[in-house]
Symmetry: C2
Subunit: 709 residues, 2 copies
């Protein structure tokens, strides 16, 4: 295999012969440069390329967690050796093709010049190219566009008019005659709406094309007229002849994923949707590491700003291309984002958001020209950014609020959007509270040993037989459960690559319901006596969920990660309930990719969410995207959310002592204090036994004694 | 001399040895590239570098007309020879140092690596650098800033406030708290003016600095708040601590010169003024050649736009540097320009202005962010552009109108601004007309054999003794007349380099008054018998005005050029008088550099302007600049001129048959029909004798028969 992929003569002075030499080689260091980022560092021989990339903050996707299964971590090695003796190149600065790579290549052949970065190890100086198709766009965007139920009232309106030809006697300019025609055409709208168009002007960006467009259209043109509160009415686009459709974008800039819908401005219908990874991942996997990055490298702020804007522009190009329109046909865009991404997108230093008092620089809704953000929509196109609610509760949460409108509800609603943080809204038409809980990314599949983001090949559903402890799984991309005959036929094209967020919640809930895990979250050692699926991994035990090419197991650390995440989520909700002085909510809405895909039953079994009538718990899909689309096609919706956000009471979990208390109490399964008297009456839940404060060795309902790791 | 300036070994295969070889060399061609423009062309050996530059549209200043006197045309030769044999360099691709250059160098030593491009001739391939100090900034800007008499009512107002510190409980963003403080501070202004600041927002450009400025000022900041009709109020600049002064720019973009005043926005006082050549001269000396250039090279429009904006930005840097402020401290700018420059500055194709119906693309006043024009003022700074009046009557004429306010006058005023074209306003508070007359650039010293622009060394005043025909001159830069003893002491430091516009008018008027020129404008051959100053130059005669290092003469062609220019000016005024049905005007105001410096007597003697009581004729200085400054510090002034321009009646001279008739009749001195019955009663003018239509040989008042050239 080595010869097949490194046919050249070995000429590196540092090269050791074959695998057995590795322990010796590992004591040496090699320089590795990653392209296109240009990041570089020295690494011990034997270091996997993927690990080197991660330690430098170079983003390479790996959904299978470096197990050589998903194939997402492919890289190209463009040259080796920077030795001063001038001897360059030779791919043998990389370890020979591994068994993992051979296995992967048998299932899904890949380009010969590529390697799996999780398998290939550094054995000499290297320049590693991270291909663009690996860097981005491999994400399955689960942020779909639902149907909108809202009256369209867009800020942009198309008006087609005939313009008088130039007349030397009158000497009126092209612009003046166009505006006269447009004002005449708008007279009926003025009369109807009371809107005054006397101050209608042309955006400067139209200066250079006005002359050509009027003549090209033989004096018939269609103008896009923009009018929103606090803005002077403006002609923001002009086309020769007659046009009927104008397009807008609704964009949700997440820490990990940027999702965009291209919409018809007349009705908000999404004509194309797409997503891309947020390239800022290069500067830090999570938000706080990006804030730290800016703090340590203040001069690099523009790089982060440019990275996210470039990614948005790529999406714009893709979406426009998908439906065969020009980017310039997009005349409006609405953006929602968490506070850090909101600031970075607008070019604002996010460092103040990294510590108390978590002061937002800008929170009000923004209504600005797209060109001020370097967006490649129409040069006079307009951008609306929803307001941020608080230092940790962003415009994305405002969009969720706009989509679900808890501020209009008679019932008390709990609306939760789980991303890397969970943003929580609680209240009704009288009073609405908002907070953010630091769940971390466990619910997104990160920090889980077999975790991955929701993508084809990820386990998303799990059932464990209560008696045999044998599992059944359902995988994204395959329509059938693993115990159905069709599963075997379909799984080969997808593979089983890892466990995504909803799968993790289900498997841990099932393990708990079966008694494999104690209510303190310990995988019981005694389970190994009952089923071979429970195995010792040394000091702790693990549950073998899938015996595939590479086995997928749930480890004790995975259970701990989910315990921390669910405790944070629960504590946040509970804190807001305290503030409202209630112990039960009328309705729970779970938004976002994770929220929409988890089974509410399991969410309750694990204690993610407070007690509620099960029928009143529902996933509401991509609410942030829905809110953004509402704002895109309705000025009324913009005013509604601007008013609602002003009225929302902000709660800062980071400084609430009560939050810490709730958090500690919520670590156990389901919880230290029974959270589900209502649910218990409806469902076959295990009888509630509060775990002891010390997690001591009192008897459990199922199985024997805990085995603490 | 040759060795001194070309010490290298002659190695060019095309090089001829010494001057005697020139006739042979002249049959060969050499490639010449001009830097920094990169323009290139092939030229016959022996071609002066200046001629080569001009034929390529590369602008090199030459105020003396290529006579080796002014020294403005210096260039550097960076390398020679592009021969394919690889032999490069050698400054001997240029003719040896000439006597003219030696003479100039004795008077004013110049850098050894430089040559006078009018004297140095091409003798091989060359790269010629046009130094920046030669390209621009050598112009004496006669557009000075006069005192303004106007109530300041600027669109930008400074407000200093204390901003609350961030409070986690309230969670208000920096921007929100700043706006709360500002709105509170503006409450009294709201009450007084009725202006509503509820929609006050921050300009996007402040996003990135807001956080830092608030903290740097320890929560005290000064905001520049912009508010103008048709605009939403906006915070456009922010500084830490307290500030009192804000600055604005008033800029007049002329075809040849860009003049700018940096003003204190509180009172319009010009704290610094400067000018620069319009670098678009590279694309065509006059407006119509620039229009043609764009027509022939549509893709090059951005080059012209960038050229003028870059020049404005250079001026901004210079003006700010002069008074020790940052460019970012400039928060507003007002621009005036003729229609072609107006369009080019705004990025609009001017081609439609090149032919009937002379359709302006944009005529209304513009109120736009400076960044949309790429201006290096404050990134959120604002630009106001005065309205254009008609296809040939620009925003510069509107500024003149604003400065002189003929639309408020009881008297009928004739306001004339002479640039390359003359823009003419005629009327009073009841009715105001505007037109443009194609005078050409003769009044600016162009197209005159010894002409130059107004700069030190230029003859600006002339008196000719009625008996001896001996002249006296006054030169810019010397305080005394040439017959005063101090003149000889001072002239050496300045030199006598040419004749500027006012000088040309005076010398020709004096020649006419002495009888050296006939009323048809012929320099009489008989004059040679009376004075040695009248000389034959072959077919025609000339008048030797100055016997300096190089003699300055007034040639027959110069008289013809002035005849054409003055006839156009007079005909334009007369046409407007016809439209108003008047034969005399109450008041004449002469604006601009030429208008301010010519003696009204001489203007009338030559028939530039219609009959008027002499006391009612006055130069009004740089009225366009004054109008721009008024608009800079007064919103009221902006509304006033916007309204006035709408009411002005536009007259297009190019299509009026009557204009042609007036033009033909006005060619003679003073005119075919006596234009000055009123003036004649006040002054010792020659008795009026209408020239015959054919200019035939009937007897003249002074001297003998005409000698037609």
């Amino acid at each position: 295999m080595s010869d097949q992929h490194s046919p050249e003569v070995m000429n590196s002075p540092t090269k050791k012969d074959g695998r057995e030499a590795q322990p010796l080689a590992a004591s040496q260091e090699a320089m590795v440069i990653f392209q296109p980022s240009g990041k570089r560092g020295k690494f011990a021989h034997g270091t996997p390329v993927l690990d080197a990339a991660r330690s430098l903050g170079v983003y390479i996707e790996s959904v299978c967690g470096g197990r050589g299964i998903c194939g997402r971590c492919q890289v190209e090695v463009s040259e080796g050796s920077f030795a001063k003796d001038g001897i360059t190149s030779s791919a043998d600065h990389l370890s020979p093709f591994t068994e993992q790579e051979e296995r992967y290549a048998r299932l899904r052949p890949f380009k010969e010049e590529r390697r799996l970065s999780c398998a290939a190890k550094i054995e000499g100086d290297l320049v590693v190219d991270v291909p663009q198709d690996v860097q981005i766009n491999r994400q399955v965007v689960r942020k779909r566009a639902e149907n909108l139920k809202i009256d369209a009232d867009p800020a942009t309106r198309l008006v087609s008019v005939m313009v008088e030809e130039p007349d030397m006697e009158k000497g009126e300019s092209d612009a003046s005659r166009l505006l006269v025609s447009l004002r005449a055409a708008l007279a009926s709208i003025e009369a109807e709406s009371g809107e005054d168009y006397a101050h209608l002007t042309l955006d400067t960006a139209l200066n250079s094309s006005l002359q050509r467009i009027l003549r090209e259209g033989k004096w018939q043109v269609t103008a896009a007229i923009y009018r929103d509160e606090g803005q002077m009415p403006k002609v923001i686009a002009l086309w020769p002849g007659e046009r009927r459709a104008a397009f807008g974008l609704a964009v949700d800039i997440g820490s990990t994923t940027i999702a965009a819908h291209l919409c018809d401005l007349r009705n908000g219908r999404a004509v194309s949707s797409s997503g891309t990874s947020n390239p800022q991942i290069r500067f830090g996997e999570d938000l706080m590491s990006r804030v730290s990055y800016v703090q340590m490298n203040p001069g690099k702020l523009p790089n982060l700003v440019t990275a996210v804007r470039d990614a948005v522009n790529s999406l714009i190009g893709k979406l426009a291309g998908d439906v065969g329109i020009a980017s310039e046909d997009i005349v409006e865009a609405v953006f929602v984002a968490n506070p850090v991404m909101h600031h970075l997108f607008l070019g604002i230093d996010p460092v103040e958001l990294g510590g108390a008092p978590f002061a937002l620089t800008l929170s009000d809704a923004q209504n600005i020209p797209g060109r001020d953000l370097g967006l490649s929509i129409h040069p006079a196109g307009r951008v609306y950014v929803l307001p941020c609610i608080a230092g940790h509760v962003g415009a994305d949460a405002a969009a969720v609020a706009l989509a679900e409108q808890p501020y209009q509800s008679d019932e008390t609603e709990l609306v939760i959007d789980v991303g890397t943080n969970a943003e929580i809204l609680l209240g009704n038409k009288d009073r609405l509270l908002a907070a953010s809980s630091p769940t971390g990314p466990a619910f997104e599949g990160a920090e889980i040993s077999c975790g991955q983001r929701a993508a084809p090949g990820a386990i998303e559903r799990v059932r464990i037989d209560r008696d045999t402890w044998e599992p059944r799984i359902k995988v994204i991309g395959v329509d059938h459960w693993s115990d159905e005959p069709e599963f075997a036929e379909q799984i080969d094209s997808v593979g089983v690559t890892g466990i995504c967020g909803s799968g993790i919640v289900e498997v841990i809930a099932e393990m708990y319901l079966c008694g494999i895990i104690s209510s303190e979250g310990v995988i019981r050692a005694e389970g190994a006596e009952r089923s071979s699926r429970v195995e010792s991994d040394g000091r702790t035990h693990q549950y073998r969920l899938w015996d595939g090419v590479v086995p997928l197991t749930v480890k004790q650390t995975d259970v701990r990660a989910i315990q921390l995440a669910k405790a944070a989520l629960y504590a946040g909700a509970k804190l807001l309930m305290d503030k409202l002085d209630i112990t039960q909510v009328d309705r729970i809405k779970l938004a976002g990719a994770f929220g929409s895909f988890i089974d509410p039953d399991y969410a309750m079994v694990l204690g993610l969410i407070p007690d509620c009538n099960l029928e009143a718990v529902s996933g509401v899909g991509n609410a942030a995207g829905t809110g953004a689309r509402k704002a895109l096609i309705s000025r009324q919706a913009r005013r509604e959310i601007e008013g609602a956000v002003r009225a929302i009471e902000k709660v800062e979990t980071a400084v609430e002592a009560k939050f810490q208390e709730h958090f500690v109490n919520a670590m156990a399964f389901p919880n230290k204090v029974d959270p589900y008297p209502l649910l218990r009456s409806q469902r076959d839940l295990p009888a509630f036994e509060a775990p002891t404060a010390e997690g001591s060795d009192r008897p459990r309902r199922r199985g024997g004694r805990r085995n603490r790791g």
